[in-house]
Amino acid sequence: MAIEHDKQIVGALETAGTVIDAVGVVGGLDSRISGGFRGAGILIRAIAAVVKTHGEEATRVMIHDLAQRPPKRANLVDAEAAVDAALAARDDAAEDTPEDA
């Protein structure tokens, strides 16, 4: 019974996490930011549903899930690479301009 509870709870949490990941990679800046917040809202609703269904048993599984998936850390490597690429492209364009003129 406990194992079945665990599966259901983890399944609900994973579904919420998948939604967050999915909305985070689709669309432009606005939709990514709003998607992140919307994903958090979905997660909150998923937690509420899990707790309502499983009560105290959900607590142990939630803590286990927290232990397994630590909070994300912001990483600016992609932003730095994008800036380098943009500046390099700008350099290339500047070099091409005199030859074209």
Binding site: I20, F37, A58, I63, L76, V83
Partner: protein
């Protein structure tokens, strides 16, 4: 002018947090259960904040690097200034995430050793420590035009009332 939509969404998100946890607190949840839910919600908000920071910073830094109104040297300087500010925000986010890690570690201890009064007191203390860290994250995020969800008010209620 900053786009007001992320801020609006943040307010809606926080409103949802408050509504759900208010409902939960009326269900006779144990202190440990409320702490577990709090940590899980904060992890979700934290992860959404990471998305907002990374995406917003990249968008703004590239916009500075490709600004056609300034020369290459100025564009490079502007873009790296954006990245430097973003690193401050990232550092603040890392501090919040580390505090959240400590909170989760204490939750694990509570599961292993039982939710004694001293362990619950420690949990409340750790939850309280998240407040200024999150406020700092929201402030530095706002400084670079990246809005993050405001501190969920339920956390203040948790640390004051439980």
């Amino acid at each position: 002018m900053r786009d007001p939509r992320p801020q609006t969404l943040a307010i809606l998100s926080v409103g949802l947090v408050v509504a759900v946890l208010s409902a939960l607190s009326g269900c006779g949840a144990s202190a440990l259960q409320v702490h577990a839910q709090t940590a899980l919600v904060l992890r979700g908000v934290n992860d959404a904040t990471v998305t907002a920071l990374e995406t917003g910073c990249q968008h703004r830094a590239v916009a500075a690097a490709t600004n056609p109104d300034v020369d290459h040297a100025q564009a490079s300087a502007d873009a790296h200034a954006v990245l430097a500010h973003c690193q401050v925000a990232a550092d603040a986010q890392h501090a919040f995430a580390s505090a959240l890690d400590a909170y989760v570690d204490q939750l694990i201890i509570a599961v292993d050793e039982g939710d004694t009064a001293s362990i619950l007191d420690r949990l409340t203390e750790l939850a309280r420590s998240l407040i200024p860290l999150y406020a700092d994250l929201a402030r530095v995020g706002g400084d670079i035009g990246v809005d993050v969800p405001e501190l969920p008010p339920f956390l203040s209620g948790l640390t004051n009332g439980h």
